[in-house]
Symmetry: C2
Subunit: 247 residues, 2 copies
DNA sequence: GGGGAGAGATGCCGC
DNA sequence: GCGGCATTTCTCCCC
C-alpha cells in the first residue's frame, strides 16, 4: 500500500503530463456549487480526464453521481487517516471533496484521441427529409427554408401550403409533447405579428404525440402529421436483416 | 499480452460475479438504435458496470461519447486481428460494436455501494422556501399548495394574492427562459378553463430572466419576481440530521 | 458570452 | 408503462 505522499506525486505528475487518471476506491463525496450534495461512503470509480474533468461513478447507473467540469484544479491532501481529493473551480465557485478511505486501484494513462463522433437520425436529418420530400407533410406543401435561424426563431421547416398559406413545421424525432406544441405556438404567433398576417398554419411532425399535446394542438388549430424519422424508416426496411444481426 | 480467449473468460466471469470492468484501450465504436453513430479509432476508457451499463469515455469531456443502458448483453469476439466487444439490447433494438485494436489495461472489481445521494438547492427546495416564506413573492400572498400534482398539472406553488385572486407561481432555480414562460402560461390557462374564472395571475420566480422571456411574460400580463434560491448548506444539514435521526 | 433549442438526453415521480 | 417535468442537465449553434 502506497502512502499519501506517493499518490499525491503520482496525481500531480499525471495531470502535468495530461494523462487520464483512474482511481477505484471507497469514498464519500461532498459537492458545493450550483447545488449542494453529499454521498456517503461506498465503492466508486473516480476518473480525472486530461482536461481535468472529474467524474465519480457508482457501480451502477448511466450517469456520474458527481462531477466537475474541465478547468478544475485537483489536489490530494491527508486528513486524519484518509486521503482527500480536493477539486476546486474558483471561476464557477464550485468545489468537491472526495474523502477516500481505501484505494483499490490507482493508475494513469496518456490517452490520444482526436476523433469526433458522427451521428445520423437527428431532428436535423428529419427536417432535411421533409424538405426533400414535402409530400410527407401534405399534398401541395412547398418548403421554403429548412433549419434556418430566422429573426422569428429557429424554424425546422418553413413553407406554404397548397393555398399559399404560410406554414411552420416543427419536427420531433420521438414523441411530441406539450412542450413541442407551445414551441410551435411561439413560432406561429411570432410570425403572425412580425409579418402582420392573421393566418399562419402550424404543423407538428413526429412519429407520435401524447394525448394532452394533441388536444392542445387542436385547440389552437394546428395539425399533427405522423412522420417517421429517417433512422426508423431504415429500421423498417432492414427489419429482417436486423433480426439476423441481433442473433 | 493476453489472448482474446483469456479476455473473453475474464469478462464473462467478471459480469457473472457482478463486477465492474474497466478497459483502457484503442478502439472504434459503432452504434445503432435510436440513432446511428460512428466514432473512428482513438484511445478511450470503457466501463462496464455491474448492472451491465456500458460507457465509452474519451480522454476529455464530461459525457460518455457512447453508451448502452443496463439490461444489455456483452460479449467479446475476435474479428481479423482485433477484439470486438459486442453489446446488444434486444428489447430496445440497440446494438454497439467496440472494435479494439489495443488493450492498455483490463481489470475488474467487485464494488459495493448502496448509498443514495442527498441533494439540496433544487427547484423543489425553492418552492418549499416560498411556501414557508410567502412574503418573498409579495405582500399578502397566501400559498395554498406546494409542489402538488393537481389535475391542472404540476404547479410549484399555488396561492391567492392579497385581493384573493388565484395565483400560480412557477420556480426556476437558475435563469428563467421562454420555456419557463410558456410553462407558466399553460398552468394559468388550464386553471382559468378548469375553474371557469377569467382572472388567474401568473408569477415567475427565479434569480433572473432572459430579456425575451421577460417581454413575453409582460405581454401575457404575468409578473417576474427575483428570488434567490435557499441557503443550501443549512437545508442539507437539516436533511442529514433528519436522516441520522432515523438510522 | 448569452440566448435558444436539441439530446441516442437521463432520471424521478405519479397516475 | 406513459406522461410530465427537473437536471449541478450538457452540448451545439448563432447572434
Amino acid at each position: 500500500m502506497w502512502e499519501i505522499k506517493e499518490y499525491k506525486l503520482l496525481l500531480k505528475d499525471a495531470l502535468k503530463r495530461n494523462e487520464t487518471v483512474i482511481i477505484t476506491c471507497k469514498c464519500s463525496v461532498k459537492y458545493s456549487g450550483r447545488a449542494e450534495s453529499f454521498l456517503d461512503e461506498g465503492d466508486r470509480i473516480v476518473l480525472i480526464k486530461s482536461d481535468n474533468t472529474l467524474l465519480v461513478h457508482q457501480p451502477t447507473g448511466n450517469n456520474p453521481i458527481n462531477y466537475m467540469k474541465s478547468n478544475t484544479q485537483h489536489d490530494l491532501v491527508q486528513e486524519d487517516n484518509k486521503i482527500v481529493l480536493k477539486a476546486r473551480n474558483q471561476l464557477q465557485k464550485e468545489s468537491m471533496d472526495i474523502v477516500i478511505s481505501k484505494i483499490y486501484f490507482f493508475n494513469s494513462y496518456k490517452l490520444e484521441d482526436g476523433q469526433n463522433i458522427l451521428v445520423t437520425g437527428t431532428e436535423a436529418d428529419m427536417a432535411k427529409m421533409i424538405y426533400d420530400n414535402p409530400e410527407k407533410i401534405e399534398k401541395g406543401f412547398k418548403p421554403v427554408s429548412q433549419e434556418e435561424q430566422t429573426k422569428y426563431g429557429f424554424i425546422d421547416v418553413l413553407g406554404v401550403d397548397k393555398e399559399g398559406i404560410l406554414t411552420v413545421v416543427e419536427c420531433k424525432r420521438y414523441c411530441a409533447d406539450l412542450n413541442s406544441v407551445t414551441q410551435l405556438r411561439r413560432y406561429v404567433e411570432k410570425l403572425m405579428i412580425s409579418k402582420g398576417i392573421s393566418k399562419v398554419r402550424g404543423i407538428l411532425a413526429a412519429p407520435k404525440i401524447t394525448p394532452n399535446a394533441l388536444r392542445m394542438l387542436e385547440d389552437w388549430g394546428y395539425n399533427f402529421v405522423s412522420v417517421i424519422p429517417p433512422k426508423y424508416m431504415e429500421e423498417l426496411n432492414k427489419k429482417q436483416s436486423r433480426l439476423d444481426y441481433f442473433k
